[in-house]
């Protein structure tokens, strides 16, 4: 019973991390039609900023709060300078963002060297439930993920900002005719997606420690999750991330980890092949 509880917690916690990472990826892919290969590096930057704050003697919380804003600002600038040119061509966008990611990743590698740098958990210790202990920080990540998810949903579905964002992305010319500044909305959407990646990086760095290929590790899982969930809505990628995250964490408990690892990808690709629209089809929030 205790074991099952620990397993369930592990699965839930990993699922939450994947959801957190996919949120930004999904918003950019669904709303803008761009599969952002640099998203993993935005996660890496978030992690790096948190590490930097810690290394400079600031409280880790400060780094974690700063990370989404810094990465979001960077995303806004990059969108205006570079990403904007790619909207018409999805493949070129992949290559361009890949190049951007390469630049960011290698810069960070140059800054930190080939090391694995650890950042302590801002909330240490464990929560005891009966005889079992669960990591307090991983529990916090689950809670924050739920809050961020709810926040994003409300932002997109209930605020006038979300309405304008969706209008722009669904029908740009009509949105322009209605007096919405579409370039600004594109920039804001991309910045928002980047900021979410920065936040994800900041939150997971105590769990995975900081190394240059940190973002790459999650990028492909993130893409697969977005495709499984279905591009075009906010809920789709989140659902996909839940499924992929849960599967990747749950399967190693019942079979050899190598087989499980590969099986998740194979299952996902087969699923997408036969249901290209994903779990949740259609536009909307």
């Amino acid at each position: 019973m205790a074991n099952a509880f620990v397993a369930a917690f592990e699965i839930l916690s990993f699922g939450a991390i994947i959801v957190l990472i996919v949120l930004g990826l999904g918003i950019i892919a669904s709303m803008m039609g761009i599969f952002n290969f640099a998203q993993g590096e935005f996660v890496l930057l978030g992690a790096y900023i948190t590490y930097l704050a810690y290394a400079k003697g600031l409280p880790i919380w400060a780094g974690m709060v700063a990370a989404p804003f810094v990465v979001g600002a960077l995303g806004f600038v990059l969108e205006a300078l570079i990403i904007r040119r790619f909207y018409a061509a999805p493949i070129v966008a992949m290559l361009g963002t890949y190049a951007l990611g390469l630049i960011i990743r290698e810069s960070v590698r140059g800054l930190i060297g080939g090391f694995y740098l650890t950042v302590p958990e801002p909330i240490g210790g464990s929560i005891d439930i009966g005889a079992t202990h669960i990591s307090a920080w991983r529990f916090t990540i689950i809670v924050i993920t739920l809050l961020v998810m709810a926040g994003c949903y409300l932002l997109l579905s209930r605020t006038s900002f979300g309405l304008r964002m969706r209008a722009t992305l669904e029908n740009p010319s009509l949105a322009r005719a209605s007096g919405i500044s579409t370039p600004l909305m594109y920039g804001a959407t991309f910045a928002f997606g980047s900021a979410l990646a920065g936040l994800a990086g900041a939150l997971i760095v105590p769990v995975f420690s900081l190394y240059a290929d940190l973002g790459l590790r999650f990028l492909i899982q993130g893409f697969v999750a977005v495709m499984v969930g279905g591009v075009g809505s906010f809920i789709g990628p989140v659902a996909g991330a839940g499924v992929i995250g849960t599967l990747s964490a749950a399967l190693p408990w019942v079979m050899a980890p190598v087989v499980a690892d590969v099986l998740v990808f194979v299952l996902a690709i087969v699923f997408i092949k036969f249901r290209p629209q994903g779990l949740i089809a259609g536009k909307g929030v």
Partner: protein
Amino acid sequence: MPKSMSVVREAIAGDEADDAMAERVAAGQAKEQVKAGRKVLPIVEGVVLVAALLAPLVLQDYLTVFATRVIILALFALSFDLVWGYAGIMSFGQALFFGSAGYGVALLARDLDITNILLVLPAGTIIGLTFALLLGGFLLLGRHPSSVIFVSLGTLTGSYAADRLARGWYYLGGQNGIPSIAPMSLGGYEFTEGPAFYYLVLGILVVVYLLCRFLVRSQFGLALAGLRENEQRIAFFGYKAQHLKAIIFAIGGAIAGLAGSLYAFHEGFVWPNMVGVVVSTQVVLYVLFGGSGTLIGAVIGTVIVEGVSFWLSDNYREIWPIILGLLLLLVILFRPLGLISFVLGERERVGSFGARPKETERKTEKQTEKEKRNAAP
């Protein structure tokens, strides 16, 4: 099939004309040369070939070994160029075929003691072909045509999954891969690193290059070009667009397999990165740099990227990947046709296919060549 060819040709000519308009300012000089009737492509190819033939004579031994590796990678780049530059299939998983063939021949050498060049190279090619047929068949064929995004992410995922599998599978050597593979042999002769291996690889590259050149200039190549420019239109003409794609994907896989088996024997070991995302994206870099859609562009791109990286790796090892990323970004933004477009005009890049219909013939070198051919027998 040939009946609709002229229609396809016109359709492509229309699309290309639009592109040419946009490209005119940038490639002005190259255009002038084409107008004057001079062909740049054979000159470029000739220069590259001569340089490649002379290289081992002037290079030191360790540089010849490096040059051999570059030639093998150029062969690999050719396979990607065929798939992306000519058929417009974004394969982010080309290393899957390269690496699995490498692993395949390494296992042949390790477990069965088969190193005969006449067996291992065909074996590697067939492994690449088989994997490409399976993956390509699954991703590309089916009742509904797959989206470009699905194909590119599907190949990327395949490559990533293969990497993970190779890392975790004890039989394949896990993280360390398979070390110290015996050298390739022919009769009693063993191909070890050096000029002999270099010329072997160069010979293979030239043969494959010529085959590819024939392929992309044939009627099949014309259908491919149509596919790349406007897939829907080609489908409306009655072509089975998905089948064409699957065929070219399989050919690309076979070439990648050939390159992978040569690479495994040249380096003497295989390791998980060879099937993984790193090598898959590396080959994309080569081709984008050199110029996709021209075969020689893939070769030149490989030589430049590998050469500069080798040259800089002593002093600027950390900075080089950043410079590479910046250059790649600049190429994508301002030179989407790659470095080759500095010397090669748009019209020549697109080229002509098979025999031209009579009414569109003009007094060009093409025609004089044709007359010579007709006069010959």
